[in-house]
Each structure stands twice: as C-alpha cells, then as structure tokens.
C-alpha cells in the first residue's frame, strides 16, 4: 500500500464594497437595492460623451485599508481599462488598476489555534468599479439593472498561504473586522458587500514524489460558511479526483466552479480557462494619482489599533480569556465601550461580563449593534463598580443596562428606582433572619439536626430571607448571619 500525504493550498481574492456616499466615478448615491435603474446617470450608464471623475473618499478609504494590510502604498498609481463584453458592463470596459495598483506586498495576521497568529501575505489591493446586474426573471429575454454599476470596490488578492478551510474563514472574518473597524466598508454579507473567490489546489506527496492538482477557482461566495465549506469540499474532491485519475496541474487546466449551497458541493462552470485578453491600457479620461509621503503618513495616522492586536492585548493586559477577548473585539464600538469603561475604573472581567452577556443580549434582542444602544462607558463602569462594591448583585446589571438604553439617568438612579440596591446592613438583615427563624420552626429543626436535610433547609431559610427582603438582601451577609445563628 502506498503512502499519501496531502496539503491543501488556498489563495483568496476578496471584493470589498467601500463605504462612500456616492459611486466611484459619478455622483449617484450608493444604497442597497431599490427600483432597478433608479440610481444612474450618464456616467455610470456609460452614455456617449460622459466622463468619469474619481471619488476621492473612495481612494482615501482604500489607502487606509492598504495601510492596515501592511501594504506598500505607491506614490504613483493609475487607472486602466479592462475590456470585455457583457450586458451588465455598460461601457464594455471596467475601470480598474492593472500594472500599477495603489498598494502591494502586505500581510494580514489571522488567529489560528489558541493565541497564535499566522501571517498571510497580501499580493496586492486595488480599486475598481463594480458592474451592474443581469436579471433573468422575465420571459424570453434578460434585463439589466445598473444601480450597482460604478460601485467602488476594493479588490484584495492574497498569496496562496492558507492551508485549511478554517484558516480561510479566519482570514475572511479578520478582514471583515479590519475594514469595519476602519470604517472602510460596512462589509455586510447579506448586502453582498464582501465577496470571496478562493483558489484551491492540493500538494500531494505520494511515494516520496510531489504532485500538484489543477487549481480550482470557486466563484462569488458571499458567506463565511460557504467559503469554508467550499474549500473543504474542494479538498476532498480534488484528492478523490487525483487518486482516481492522477491528473496534475501540468496536465489539467485551471477550472472555475460554483458553490451549490443546498447540496453542499461545487459545480463545474468552465473547464478550460478561456483565452481572455482584457486589452488593458491606461484610461485616458482619468489622471494618474500621485501621492506624497506626507499624505500617506497622514492616512496612516488615521488608522486605529487593529482588532487582532486588541484581542491579544486584552488577553495579556486584562487577563481575559481568548473567547472573551474575541467577543469584545468583534466590533470596534464594543471594544471602545469596553476600554472606556475600564479606563473609568471598571474591573476588566466585570466590565467584560456586563458587555458580553447583558449588553450583547440587549443588542441582539433589539436587532441593532451595541453602538446604537445609547449605552456609554461611564454607565457600564458605574454598574461594574456597584457590583464590585456589593451594592447590587451581578444579576441586576442586565436590568440596569436595559433601562439605560431608554433613559439618560445614571446607573445609581436606575438601581434605586428599580429597587435593586442590596441590603447589606447586618442589623437590619439580622432582624429579617430572626423573623424567618421564628416563622419556620420545622426548617430550623432540620438545619439543627444536621444530616441530609440540613443543607436543603438552610437553602430554604435563605430563600425566605431573600423573599422578605424583596430580593435586595446581600446574599453573602445573609449567609454569614445564618451561619452565626446555627454555628
């Protein structure tokens, strides 16, 4: 029996829609969906005589993304026309960047296993305009909706540095976090603002000889799940194919496949790479973009700490778990809320619990992000401090937080209003304990008798005290008093 070792190798192309108000080369609004062809003008319709004008904001956002991906930003970059005929492409060329992209040679770090980061090289990132959409819902013809035409897209290409579906997924999530942190993109999967195209093949060592399987490109994936599953599927499909046919890269052609999410399989779209000649040449309608080092540095100063760095720092600095740090850094607004509350004296783990449990639950229920909940760092810090000081119990934090989303009152005022302040006055509580003892002789006997029933009876008395205190007794102190009474 022969030995087979197999490594999957994956590179990724990602399209990210930029968070600008208007399209890449005209003033049409960038919104999601809408009446077909309602957000168009002579420029994005590609009407004769119209000319593109670069959206500066799109360029700035792209450069920020390039810097965050540790890319070298070019001092001179230009626009090229990429020619191909397709009905959703109104000029029959796409304005893109060919040989001089604005950024190259970067890397992104992704979390792998617990606490480790893996560096994936970024080949290049460039800007381009999106095409429209062909719609095939009407009878014996197709229709074209050009609302999307001219949408600014950042195309990011990685080196084939990933070796599992989960790494590819981690990169996608990390990239989403980064562009969202920087305000470069909303990066919503549902709205198709982030699309993935993995290139997958296998490096197989069989009987000491290395073989590489033909590369497959899976087109147009728009969920993390589809991305991971399609890569895993390709891994096993290509291995099976290789074992059955022995086909390698040199013999087979690169193929393009689509993902069938219902069946969980990839489907062949094009076997032979068509001899595409895009006839790239510099767009004479647009001036090249020249960037000074000062301008690039100015953009760099607008960057923030990146999510993965934050995540690692939280583990180290605040002794949070990997998991908690991940939850807190998933969104920039959440991380900022956390850091703000800690800065104002909240104990990190306590603040983390308030945000990650009560806070995110509220956000989920409201169907909003934390940032939209009217909760500030000061309030979270105040709640954390009250829990620490035993003024309220940990369970009360959620109720106070929920109330905070509706009013501008302070945490303390809300706690008082909702009668959540714990009674910690020993003499007052002792009175309650005495009353309960007097009212429940059977339970008192059970406690005193020791044995099996004792523990349950103690709990029963405790419950009765809490009931009498309307839930506001500090359980620690009640427990101490009970202990004193029964020795």
């Amino acid at each position: 029996m022969s030995s087979v070792e197999c490594k999957v190798v994956i590179g990724l192309e990602i399209h990210v829609q930029l968070l600008t108000k208007t399209k890449m080369f005209c003033g049409c609004a960038l919104e999601f969906a809408g009446e077909p062809n309602s957000r168009v003008c002579p420029v994005c319709l590609g009407l004769p005589g119209s000319l593109p004008v670069m959206n500066r904001k799109a360029f700035e956002l792209s450069v920020m993304a390039g810097l965050a991906l540790n890319c070298k930003i070019a001092n001179f970059t230009k626009w090229d026309r990429k020619s191909y005929y397709y009905p959703d492409l109104p000029k029959n060329y796409q304005i893109s960047q060919y040989d001089l992209p604005f950024s190259e040679h970067g890397f992104i770090e992704i979390p792998v296993n617990s606490g480790d980061a893996k560096r994936i090289r970024i080949t290049r990132a460039h800007l381009e305009e999106d095409a429209g959409k062909n719609v095939h819902t009407a009878g014996n013809f197709s229709q074209v909706d050009l609302n999307r035409a001219g949408t600014p897209l950042l195309e990011i290409v990685t080196e084939p540095d990933m070796n599992s579906g989960s790494e590819v997924r981690a990169l996608a999530i990390e990239l989403q976090r980064i562009v969202q942190y920087l305000g470069v993109s909303e990066a919503s999967m549902q709205k198709g603002q982030m699309r993935f195209e993995p290139n997958v093949n296998l490096h197989i060592i069989k009987d000491g000889k290395e073989y590489k399987t033909p590369i497959t490109e899976v087109k147009n994936l728009n969920s993390f799940r589809a991305l991971e599953e399609s890569v895993n599927y390709e891994h096993s499909r290509q291995l099976e194919e290789f074992l059955a046919t022995g086909k390698t890269m040199e013999m087979g052609n690169k193929s393009t496949r689509g993902w069938d999410a219902d069946r969980g399989v990839t489907v062949l779209q094009r076997e032979k790479e068509e001899a595409h000649d895009y006839r790239y040449f510099p767009d004479p309608d647009l001036l090249p973009v020249k960037l000074t080092d000062e301008w690039i540095e100015d953009m760099r100063s607008k960057l923030c700490e990146l999510p993965l760095q934050k995540q690692f720092r939280y583990v180290k600095e605040f002794k949070l778990s990997e998991y908690d740090a991940g939850v807190l850094t998933a969104e920039r607004a959440v991380a900022e809320l956390f850091e703000g509350a800690v800065e104002q004296g909240g104990e990190p783990k306590r603040v983390c619990n308030i945000i990650s449990q009560a806070g995110l639950k509220l956000a989920n229920e409201a169907g909003r992000s934390m940032a939209e909940l009217n909760i500030d760092a000061e309030g979270v810090a105040a709640i954390a401090k009250m829990v620490e000081a035993n003024e309220i119990n940990a369970g009360a934090a959620g109720a106070i937080l929920a109330e905070m989303t509706k009013t501008d009152k302070s945490a303390k005022a809300i706690a008082e209003e909702l009668n959540l302040i714990q009674k910690s006055d020993a003499s007052e509580l002792e009175g309650l304990v005495d009353a309960v003892i007097a009212e429940n002789p059977q339970a008192v006997d059970d406690v005193k008798s020791g044995g099996k029933k004792s523990k349950a009876a103690r709990g029963f008395l405790m419950g009765k005290v809490m009931q009498k205190a309307k839930g506001q007794a500090n359980p620690k102190i009640v427990s101490q008093i009970l202990a004193k009474k029964f020795g």
Partner: protein, 491 residues
C-alpha cells in the same frame, strides 16, 4: 438684408442684436433662409431646429427689450458638430448606430453656448465618429465643398466648415483629434482653431481618441474664434483632463487681439513642407513673406520625429477608439440587430450592420494594437514616439514664438478621389496630427487660393495654453490681407 446680416462678423451682429438694432429673430430667419437655399446643394446639416430656434430668438429679443443682461453670444445663430450631446434633436456622430440616439444631457460646451444666449440652429455632418478627412465617411449624409461641389469639404468637421463658409450659420463648433477642425477649415476657406488639450471640456463630446480630442471653433475671421473661445474655454469639474484655471488662467481672448507681436520669430521646419503641392507651398511662402513685411524673423527649426506622427497617431487614436466605441453594442441604446440568436449576436450583428467601413477598420487596428503580446510593440512604442514629438515641439519653441506650416499637403480633393486609399487619406493629416499628439494649440487661417480657386490654409502653432498669442499672430496676417473676406460664389 438677410445676406448683409450674414456677412457681418459674430461680434458685430451680436452687438447690433444687443443694442436692439437687429433682432435675433431676424438673424435666425436669415440663417434659415440661407439654409433653405444652400443646404440642398451643400448638405452640411444632419438636423435643424427652426421652431425651437425662433422661439429662443424671441426669448432673447424680449430679454433685450426688457433691458435684461444678455450673454456674450446673444442671439447668434450657431451650429455644432453632431458629436456633441444635446437634449434637443439626435446626437448621431454621423453613424447609423446612433441615428436615433437622443442624449439625456447637454455637453459642457452646449451648456456654455446656451448660458451665453447663443441660438443653436442645428447639428452638422461629420465623418462617422470623427474618423476621416473628407466627411465622405458619414453614414448619414454627403457634404460637399461650397467652393466646388465636386470636392470634399475636408473632415471630419466637414459639415461645420461647409456651413460656416456658405453662410448657413454665423459660427460653428467642431472637434479635432488629428486635424479635424483645421483641415476642413483650410479646405473651406474659414478660420479653425484647435485649442490646447485640456482647455475646453470634453464632457458630452462623444469620444474618438480621448487623449487627442479637443473641441474648437470654426469662424469666418480670427476675432470671432476669440469670441467663441471666451465662451467655451475653462475648467469643468466633469472632465478630469480639463486643466485647472489656477495653473492655466483663461484670458480674455479678444482683449489684445489687434495688438501684433513685436519681434515675432517664426519657426519653419523642412519636415513640415515635404510632400506638399507646389501651389500650397507657394501660398505658405507668400504668407510668411507678409509676416516678414510686418517685421517678423524666420528661423529654421528641426522636428526630427515628426515623420513618425502619422504612425504613432494611428496606433494611439485607434487603440482608444476601439475601447471608446465598445459601448455601441446594441444592448443599451442605438441600433440593435433585428433577430439575434443569442447575446453574442446582439453585439456582433448590431455592430456589423451599423458601423461603416472606416470605423470598423480603426476598431480592428486599435484592438490589434492593444492585444496581449502586441501592446509593447505598438501602443507602448507609440506613446514613446508621442513624448519624443512633444519634446520636438518644446525644443522648437525655445527658438521661436510660433511655427508655420501648411494645414494640408493639398487643397480640397475630389469626392471619391481618396476614399479607396485609406493610407493616402491618412497622409492628408500629416501636418496637423503631431499637434494633437503634443497637445498644443493650432489654427488654420485662409492664406491664398490655388489655380482652381480653392482656398489654402496656413497653420500656425504656439506652445500650450497660449491661444491668446496664437490668435494675435493670426490676426496680424488677417488684418493686412483679404483672403478671409472671399466667400464661395458657386452655391
């Protein structure tokens, strides 16, 4: 009366209109009566707007009667080449593929004309997509030279030149990618100015060769070209290649137009005379003698790379054209084939049916030049030649104020004479093409007649953004000669 009105300059006529001595309606009526008489012979117009024009003339007249301020072109009947988008009428580019295309927006120059109260009376014939030197490539109409109806008016702005020469409008706009304003101006005995690339907005000009195209005026005298420049020159936010006015301010082109240039130095290059007809050359030499008489000095300059300009031009212009014309695909607008089998046939048949031979030829040339494996040898090489030609001009202008050349090697040729020989046709732009590659301004002014009584044009070139000086130099000659006053009598 109407002929008299039409013999006035634009400056004079708009002044009379502004003073209320002549109504804009009268001027517009005069133009339309001239069109009625002459158009059946000359064939310059692809569309005319008589009702709209009269309505607009009346509006301007009543503004004037009410003492309101009116623009620089108040009431003047003006026509434009049919490759500038207008919300009124069609914008055909002389092509069957756009025969029924109605633009939903006005070109920047159209907006500027309208803002200065011009009356746009019609749109003028041209070689299809501005590809040609005789207007014979129009897919829609035949235009003849008003000086000899058996001859071409030149091209591609042949309709513009013929209409101005025969009094069917007071002035016209054309576009110039390789000589398309200057050469027809020369063939028809009118003034044609190609401004510096970036001086006039291209927004709304249907592109042929985007890095070469430039809109400019065709007029009956030099100062009228200045008046038109005062309206059309300037930055436009919608055209990234239009120049920032802080870098190149827009002067008043009429301000010093009567002031000659003292100590003018004229550059003459042997390369610019090679291959020209004897009669053309002698008219140019005579013109230079006139300048000498005005105190000008002549120096010989060297343009070592200019011989490669036609070759470089036909790579760059066609490459850009192949991409610019890709959008005419039968999908979104324009001609669509009747019964396509599939979407590929929508493209191939629509284009095959509606583009003319010359347009197809240039799309093929340009597609080839941009194809993978050929790009470096053709397109990239052509760009290098282009920058050498640009430095030829820069070097030359260190020695002289302006360069003078013939506009074309010949006067207007016979209809059909060159149509089957594209290479010969291409060579008729040999003196004008380098100017577009360099991006500098150039003017054609009438400077004589040949034995057939056909006009000869003198081309004057100056450095980028010095149109003001260029016009002054042109005016020096015009002010002491009568060539520009002769009008064709044959139509």
């Amino acid at each position: 009366m109407s002929d008299e009105l039409l013999s006035l300059s634009c400056r004079k006529l708009t002044e009379l209109i502004r003073r209320g001595e002549v109504s804009s309606r009268k001027a517009v009526e005069a133009v339309f009566s001239s069109i009625e008489k002459t158009e059946p012979v000359v064939g310059a117009y692809l569309s005319t707007f008589i009702d709209e024009s009269l309505e607009r003339a009346d509006e301007i007249d009543s503004k004037i009667a009410a003492g309101k301020k009116v623009g620089k072109l108040a009431g003047l009947p003006i026509a434009v080449k049919d490759n500038m988008c207008t919300t009124f009428g069609a914008t055909t580019c002389g092509s069957k593929i756009l025969e029924n295309f109605h633009a939903p927006y006005n070109a920047a120059v159209i907006e500027r004309l309208l803002a200065e109260d011009a009356v746009i009376v019609g749109k003028l014939n041209m070689d299809e997509f501005a590809m040609g030197s005789s207007t014979e490539n129009s897919g829609l109409k035949k235009t003849v030279n008003p000086w000899d109806v058996n001859r071409v008016p030149g091209g591609s702005s042949g309709g513009s030149a013929a209409a101005v020469a025969s009094g069917m409008c007071m002035a016209a706009l054309g576009s110039d990618t390789g000589g398309s304003i200057r050469q027809p101006a020369s063939f028809c005995g009118v003034v044609g100015l190609k401004p510096t690339y970036g001086r006039v907005s291209r927004y709304g000009l249907v592109a042929y060769g985007s890095s070469l195209d430039q809109i400019g005026p065709l007029t009956r005298d030099v100062a009228d070209a200045g008046l038109m420049m005062n309206v059309i020159a300037g930055h436009d936010d919608n055209d990234s290649t239009s120049v920032n006015e802080k870098i190149a301010p827009v002067p008043d082109y009429l301000e010093n137009i009567e002031k000659g240039i003292e100590g003018l130095t004229i550059g003459v290059a042997p390369q610019f005379h090679a291959g020209a007809d004897v009669e053309v050359l002698s008219a140019i030499e005579d013109a230079i003698e006139v300048y000498k008489g005005l105190g000008a000095k002549v120096v010989e300059i060297d343009m070592p790379h200019i011989d490669y300009s036609v070759a470089a031009y036909y790579v760059i212009a066609t490459a850009e054209a192949s991409s610019n014309l890709a959008r005419f695909d039968g999908v979104h607008y324009g001609h669509r084939t009747a019964k396509p089998e599939d979407y590929i046939e929508v493209y191939s048949k629509s284009r095959a049916e509606a583009f003319g031979t010359e347009v197809k030829r240039r799309i093929m040339l340009g597609t080839y030049a941009l194809s993978s494996g050929y790009y470096d040898a053709y397109y990239l090489k052509a760009l290098k030649v282009r920058s050498l030609i640009r430095s030829d001009f820069t070097g030359a202008f260190e020695k002289c104020d302006c360069i003078m050349t013939p506009v074309s090697p010949t006067t207007a040729f016979k209809i059909g004479e060159n149509i089957d020989d594209p290479l010969k046709m291409y060579l008729s732009d040999i003196y004008t093409i380098g100017v577009n590659l360099a991006g500098i301004p150039g003017i054609s002014i009438p400077c004589g007649f040949d034995g057939n009584d056909l006009p000869v044009g003198l081309q004057i070139l100056t450095p980028a953004f010095t149109e003001s000086k260029l016009l002054r130099i042109a005016r020096m000659f015009e002010s002491c000669t009568e060539f520009h006053k002769r009008r064709p009598q044959k139509v």
